[in-house]
Amino acid sequence: MTTLAGTGGLVRLILRRDRWLLPLWVLVLALLPAQTAAAIDQFYDTPAKLGDLYGTIVTTPGLRAMLGPVFGATLGAITVWRAGLYFTMVGLASLLTVIRHTRADEEAGRRELLGSTVVGRHAPLAAALLVTFGANLVLGALLAAGMVGVGLPIAGSLAYGLSMAAVGWTFAAVAAVAAQVTEGAGGARGIAVGTLGVAFALRAAGDTGGSGSGIGWLSWLSPIGWAQQTRAYADERWWVFALPAALVVLLTAAAFALQARRDVGAGVLPARLGPAEAAPSLRSPLALAWRLHRVALVSWTAGLALLGALIGSVATSVGDMARESTQLKDVLERLGGEKGLSDAYIASAMVIFALAAAGYAIQATLRLRAEEESGRAELVLATPASRRRWATSHLLFGLLGPAVALLAAGAAEGLTYGLVGGDLGHQLPRVLAGALVQLPAVLVLSGIAMALFGLLPRFSPLSWAALAVAAFLVLFGPLLRLSQGILDLAPFSHIPKVPGAAVSATPLAWLLVIAAVLAAAGLVGFRRRDLVSTA
């Protein structure tokens, strides 16, 4: 086939260009799960302890939303759960690799250079997919070998390795399609990463309820969910692998078909034209910020509202389910479910909203840094717009955006919970309050991002590290029996579990003061420092 001529040479070229990057992510993702298994084995060294941990996971929606479902009280099954985020990471690494060697090359004009040599039209895509598929196979094999190495069963290890590779293959194929669609690599990356995000969100939403609940089927819409539903180390279900296999074949065929119909450099989606003149309202830094933030604001608000509606609709049935199992009931009550099991479920799901809203808060606030680094801030700040006006226009979205998103999540959750339970008037305000008390903790993260931006701009990405630490402490801190002093470092630890617990205003007020001080320090710092752009 002449359209594939030169594929072998391109494979070697990719391996040469990625000789550090590719082995890095393959090795890290292949070897970390065995590390995790060894660590869990050391910590939970008796079946009873593993059983306790299993019970906690099953009764904590936040843990399942973050990492996935757990299918057994064995070391293997719990390791697969604990390493749940690696599925997403392997998907991310795979899709970025494919885009990097297809659309990004095309955009940079390197593809054209190759096209003039003896390289077939389909060769670059074929080479990128071959390398990424191969890397995932190696990753899966190494992963399985590592798990067998720490003493886990061979069948489960194989299923686990294969499920990781399946996620990698799926998102490589997703990226192959995305790379055909847009003209820019940024757009293609956005589509592929967005698909991964939706897959994660579907799985997270489905897993909050658990398999028996009304929303468990959502996990089955997600390739990440499929990987977990193969149930490695818990009576493997090999037939599930048929789903990713079929999807990969379908997407790969679609990518090649799309490629055959388009010109080099062009996308399937035509570049749309915009207005020749700006709307009369586009005349201030705030109006510009609204244009730049509105898609994120609407997406986050809609996403959290949807998740809230789903969780609210199943909360009643989750309570009923847990009531039937005495073991789970014990665990749940030990976890501090004070009024009812359903209330406890609702309250513990609030942590997910808070963490998501904090992620949004940081993203929106750090838009300032992105604008500065790209040099776009310079364009605005060379006009009579003052630094304070420009910075507050973005900060506003970092503060109010998460508030709107939390409000929508709480309202949607309270609405469905109240409608299912038949006492809307009673439940809606309680659930809404549960969502809104999270806001002060979320705003502390906006404050941290703003302070870093204003005072130590180069370290702005550390805001994400702060969120990661806070999330780790609030999700896993109690599990690891960390001392209260350490847990208190996370702003979310100070939020009362509403509905259920009593609300005390003092910690909330303190969190608000801290957030305000951090944000103000960032604003003052920014007015005094140099503008640092990489351009």
Partner: protein, 309 residues
């Protein structure tokens, strides 16, 4: 109105260990087009960023339109427009939206002028910024700046991404601006552009101005190349002060001569009877290269004396 639009003295700006500006002096008179000449990395962009109050100088003083660029940034920005060297735009906005936004932030722009400039630069304002090439992004920033009613234009290598036709259009537009009485500080590393457009020129090297003056003054410092065919061998050319790279081949001579000695040299040729004479006027390029071909010892800013005699 002040006679000087920009006056900078002893400006120092360091980034970590690098000294981007090292005692820079610069004076731009009101109403002139001032060329700010130097290669990449010499400190042109840093100077402009200090003048815009985006960077804070470590030492020295800078006055812009009679104010302090750091303390009075917003007030001063009402009276100027800036085009950065590497223009990045908001990918989701159309070119027209960016032009209008920047114009309105500067206090409004003239719609007729906007339409005229779009026409002259052949820019489609409906395209999304993400689809623009580097040159087209630059045109967006140029149209926004030139259509604004301001006293001072700060242009940082504005033609770096433009094709030759557009460069010509740009030159016309800047010439119009000068007639309109606006002050322009034009940074560039393209000598012909500066020669064609500017009243006065400052040459920057390693964060300092090494030469500053009108083109005529600077030309005076440069050498004219002469090739002549004479009736008889010339007298006294070898001894003449200011003659360089002399090649004497019977009645054919070839040499370079300092601007100040040109008349004398031609008089001696004339005394020997001229059959043919070609003279190449000094270019800014020569002056420029003289500053940039010097070794580290020449970094004190004085042009090195020619040694080839």
């Amino acid at each position: 109105m002040d006679a000087t639009a920009i006056s900078v003295s002893g400006l120092v700006k360091t980034f970590g260990p690098t000294r981007a500006l090292d005692g820079l002096d610069l004076e731009v008179r009101t109403g002139e087009v001032h060329g700010f000449l130097g290669p990449n990395g010499a400190g042109k962009t840093t100077t402009l960023r200090v003048l815009l109050g985006l960077l804070r100088a470590d030492a020295g003083t800078a006055r812009l339109l009679g104010g302090d660029p750091w303390a009075h940034a917003t007030d001063l920005h009402r009276r100027l427009a800036y085009v950065p060297g590497d223009v990045t735009l908001w990918p989701s906005l159309s070119g027209g939206e960016v032009i209008d936004l920047l114009g309105r932030l500067r206090g409004g722009l003239d719609p007729k002028r906007r339409a005229d400039l779009l026409d002259r630069f052949e820019l489609d304002p409906r395209k999304k910024a993400r689809t623009y090439s580097k040159g087209n992004r630059q045109k967006v920033a140029l149209v926004a700046a030139l259509a604004a009613d301001v006293e001072l234009l700060l242009l940082d290598e504005p033609t770096a991404g433009l094709d030759p036709l557009m460069e010509a259009a740009f030159r016309e537009v800047v010439a119009d601006e000068r007639h309109g009485g606006r002050t322009v500080l034009l940074s560039s590393h393209i000598l012909s552009e500066v020669e064609a457009l500017c009243d006065r020129v400052s040459i920057i090297r390693a964060g300092r101005i090494v030469e500053s003056g009108t083109l005529a003054e600077l030309r005076h410092l440069t050498r004219t190349s002469i090739t002549a065919e004479l009736v008889r061998p010339p007298d006294g050319l070898v001894e003449l002060e200011g003659v360089h790279s002399l090649v004497l081949d019977g009645t054919r001579v070839q040499f370079q001569v300092d601007g100040a000695r040109l008349g004398e040299a031609v008089a001696r040729l004339s005394a020997a009877g001229i059959r043919s004479l070609t003279s190449q006027p000094p270019t800014l390029e020569e002056l420029f290269l003289r500053h940039y071909q010097t070794d580290a010892a020449g970094a004190d800013g004085r042009p090195r004396e020619g040694t080839s005699r």
